[in-house]
C-alpha cells in the first residue's frame, strides 16, 4: 500500500505552488473556498486510499 510521503515529491515544487496560487487569482474569498474544497475532493479521489488521507489530515493538523 502506498504511504503518505512528506518528503519532496514534486519535480519542480515552485511550479506546482505557482499553479495553486494562480488558480486563486481574482477570486473572492467565497470563490476561493469553493475552489479549494473542489480541489481537495478531486485530489482525495486521486489518492484513492482513506488511510493515506487520514495520515495527510493528521500531518496537516500538526
Amino acid at each position: 500500500m502506498t504511504k503518505l510521503t512528506l518528503d519532496p515529491n514534486l519535480p519542480v515544487p515552485d511550479d506546482a505552488y505557482a499553479l495553486l496560487i494562480d488558480a486563486h487569482e481574482g477570486l473572492t474569498k467565497a470563490e476561493s473556498d469553493a475552489l479549494n474544497a473542489r480541489l481537495i475532493l478531486i485530489l482525495m479521489n486521486q489518492i484513492g486510499d482513506a488511510d493515506v488521507i487520514a495520515h495527510a489530515i493528521a500531518a496537516a493538523k500538526r
Binding site: A34, A37, L41, I42, N45
Partner: protein
C-alpha cells in the same frame, strides 16, 4: 378522573374491554407485558404469541394514530412481516420501489438502485402509510389469537407507575374503569421516542440534536411521476433548501421541504403557506388536496443499554435517528425480530437469561450503524458549519461533471439489515470461499428456488434450522430440521451461499440470521455452534 386520549385515531383496532385481571382483587402476574401497541410492540407480541408465549400488550389508545408518518418499509422488514404471516397484504397495498434519484437544482447528480439483482421475494422497499402497516400487524394478531395464540392487546390501558429491579416488574395501570395492578417476569418497553418507561426509570437518552425543521406535506393527487424516491438539493422551484417527492398508496404523495432552524411553526403550517410551497414545486395547474401536514425536527441518540434487568427497550424508545434513510421503524422491527426468539428461548428454558444480553450487543451494534449513517446524511443535508457547507456544495458542484463525486451525494443511505459482526452468538466462519454477504451474523439473503418458492419461505418455523447445500448431512443431526438443496440445480443459492465453495452447511437462527457455516461439520461441531448461538458458550 375521566380517561383522556392524546391524539385522534386513524384506525380503531383494539377497543377497550374490561379484563378479568381488573376484577381479580389483587395484582395479577403475567410472563411478558409489552407496553406500546405500535409496530414494534405488536410485532414483538406476534412473534412471541406465535411461539406459544402468553403476552399482554398495553396501549393507552384503542388503535393507531392519524398521520402517515413512517412510510418507507424496507425489504428486511417485509421479510420479517412475511415470517410473521402478514407480508403479502403489505406488498399488495404498498407502492413498490427500488430506485432513487437525487437532483441539484434541475440536474440529476446521483441515482441508486437498491436491489440490482433478481431472485428475491421482496422488493427493496414499499411505501405504505404507517397506520396501514400497523393495521396489517394487528389484523394478523387477530387471526393468530383466533387460532389460539395467547396474545391479549388491551386498549386504553395506560401505564401510570412501575417498580422494576427485582425478579418481577410491578405495574400500575389506568383504564376508563379505573386503576388495576399487574406484575410481569419481563417488561418490553415499546413506548416510543418519548418513552414514559424510560423516564420513570430515570434512564438517559442522549445524542445530537439537529438544528433544522422539515415540513411534511402529504398531498392527494393523480400524477404520473415514476414510483421512485426523488430528492432535490437547492431545488430550482425554491420551496425549501431541499425537497423530497415520494409516492404512497391511494394517490397520496409525500412531499418534504427543508425549512431551516429559525421558523415560525404555526405560520409555516398555515395551509395557504403550505400550498404556496407545493404550487411552486408542482406548478400552478396541478390539482391536489392537502392530506396531512406536519413539521418535524429530529435527533440521533440511543440509550446506553437496551436491557435493564427485566425491562427491555425496543424501537424508538431505545434509539432514534433522522428520517433520512428510513432507519427508524425498520430498525425497530429488526429489534423485535432479534428479541422475540431470544425471550421465547429463555422462557421455555432452552437458553440462559444471559442470551438476552446478546440482544443488547447486537441491537446496539445495529443502532450505532444506523445513527452513524443517519448522522452523515444529516450532516450533508443540513451542514453544521461553514466549512461543512462549502464541502457539501463542492460535492454537488462536482457531481454534475465528475463521476467520483456522485456517490458522495448523501440524501439518506437507506436501511439495510444489520450484520451482527463480532456477536458472541456467532461461530467463526468455516466456509472457505463463502460469500461475505452470508457470513455469520448476516441475515440470510433470500434466493429463488427452482420450485418457485424462496429460501426465506422455508425459514419461518420459529426454530433453528440447518441448511445443507450438497454436504450430505446425516438426517437427525443435533435434533435440528435440515433443509437440503442441490447446489448444482439452485443457481441463486449457490451464488449467495457457496461462492467459490462446492458444498456448505449453515446453522440459521430463528430470526433468519446465520449463526455458523462450514464446508463440512460433524454433530459435535454443530451442537457446539448451537450452544453458542443460544448463549450457552463458556
Amino acid at each position: 378522573m375521566t380517561y383522556q386520549d392524546r391524539y385522534p385515531l386513524a384506525f380503531r383496532l383494539y377497543p377497550y374491554h374490561r379484563s378479568a385481571d381488573q376484577d381479580a382483587g389483587g395484582r395479577v402476574h403475567h410472563r411478558v407485558v409489552i407496553v406500546g401497541g405500535g409496530p414494534i410492540g405488536i410485532a414483538t407480541a406476534l412473534d412471541l404469541g406465535l411461539k406459544g408465549i402468553p403476552v399482554v400488550v398495553l396501549d393507552d389508545h384503542e388503535g393507531v394514530g392519524q398521520g402517515s408518518r413512517a412510510i418507507c418499509f424496507a425489504k428486511r422488514t417485509l421479510e420479517i412481516a412475511h415470517r410473521l404471516g402478514c407480508g403479502p397484504e403489505m406488498v399488495d397495498k404498498g407502492v413498490v420501489w427500488n430506485r432513487g434519484r437525487v437532483f441539484h437544482d434541475r440536474d440529476e447528480v446521483f441515482s441508486f438502485d437498491l436491489l440490482p439483482e433478481e431472485g428475491h421475494r421482496h422488493p427493496a422497499f414499499i411505501n405504505l402509510q404507517q397506520p396501514w402497516f400497523e393495521r396489517f400487524l394487528v389484523e394478523r394478531v387477530d387471526r393468530a389469537t383466533a387460532a389460539g395464540a395467547p396474545i391479549d392487546i388491551r386498549g386504553r390501558n395506560r401505564l401510570m407507575a412501575l417498580q422494576a429491579g427485582g425478579d418481577t416488574v410491578d405495574l400500575e395501570i389506568e383504564t376508563p374503569d379505573g386503576p388495576y395492578s399487574l406484575s410481569a417476569d419481563w417488561l418490553i418497553a415499546c413506548d416510543g421516542a418519548r418513552s414514559p418507561i424510560r423516564d420513570k426509570m430515570g434512564l438517559g437518552f442522549d445524542g445530537r440534536v439537529f438544528e433544522d425543521n422539515f415540513l411534511i406535506a402529504d398531498v392527494k393527487m393523480t400524477a404520473d411521476f415514476p414510483t421512485e424516491r426523488w430528492f432535490w438539493f437547492e431545488p430550482w422551484f425554491k420551496s425549501g433548501a431541499s425537497a423530497l417527492l415520494h409516492k404512497q398508496p391511494d394517490d397520496i404523495w409525500r412531499i418534504d421541504f427543508q425549512l431551516g432552524w429559525d421558523i415560525d411553526r404555526t405560520a409555516e403550517l398555515d395551509p395557504a403557506r403550505v400550498r404556496a410551497r407545493v404550487d411552486q414545486m408542482l406548478g400552478p395547474d396541478v390539482d391536489y388536496e392537502l392530506d396531512w401536514t406536519s413539521i418535524y425536527t429530529f435527533q440521533c441518540r440511543r440509550m446506553d443499554r437496551f436491557r435493564h434487568g427485566r425491562v427491555i427497550f425496543a424501537g424508538d424508545a431505545a434509539h432514534q435517528v433522522s428520517p433520512f434513510g428510513a432507519r427508524g421503524a425498520n430498525s425497530g422491527i429488526q429489534d423485535a425480530d432479534n428479541l422475540g426468539w431470544k425471550l421465547a428461548a429463555v422462557l421455555k428454558g432452552d437458553a440462559p437469561d444471559t442470551l438476552l444480553d446478546s440482544y443488547d450487543t447486537e441491537r446496539i451494534h445495529a443502532a450505532d450503524e444506523n445513527i452513524r449513517n443517519s448522522t452523515r446524511s444529516t450532516d450533508f443535508i443540513t451542514p453544521k458549519t461553514e466549512q461543512s457547507r462549502i464541502f457539501r456544495d463542492a460535492v454537488l458542484h462536482l457531481a454534475g461533471h465528475a463521476a467520483f463525486a456522485r456517490p458522495m451525494v448523501n440524501s439518506g443511505r437507506l436501511s439495510v439489515p444489520a450484520v451482527y459482526d463480532g456477536s458472541p452468538l456467532n461461530s467463526p466462519d468455516a466456509l472457505p470461499g463463502g460469500p461475505a454477504r452470508s457470513r455469520p451474523g448476516a441475515s440470510c439473503p433470500d434466493a429463488r428456488l427452482t420450485d418457485g418458492s424462496f429460501l426465506l419461505d422455508h425459514l419461518t418455523g420459529g426454530g433453528f434450522v440447518l441448511l445443507d447445500l450438497g454436504a450430505g448431512l446425516a438426517p437427525a443431526l443435533a435434533d435440528l430440521p435440515v433443509l437440503r438443496f442441490e447446489p448444482a440445480t439452485e443457481p441463486f443459492l449457490a451464488d449467495r451461499y457457496l461462492g467459490e465453495s462446492t458444498q456448505g452447511i449453515y446453522l440459521i437462527r430463528p430470526d433468519q440470521h446465520v449463526a455458523a457455516r462450514w464446508d463440512r461439520a460433524d454433530a459435535a461441531t454443530i451442537a457446539k455452534a448451537l450452544d453458542r448461538a443460544l448463549g450457552k458458550a463458556a
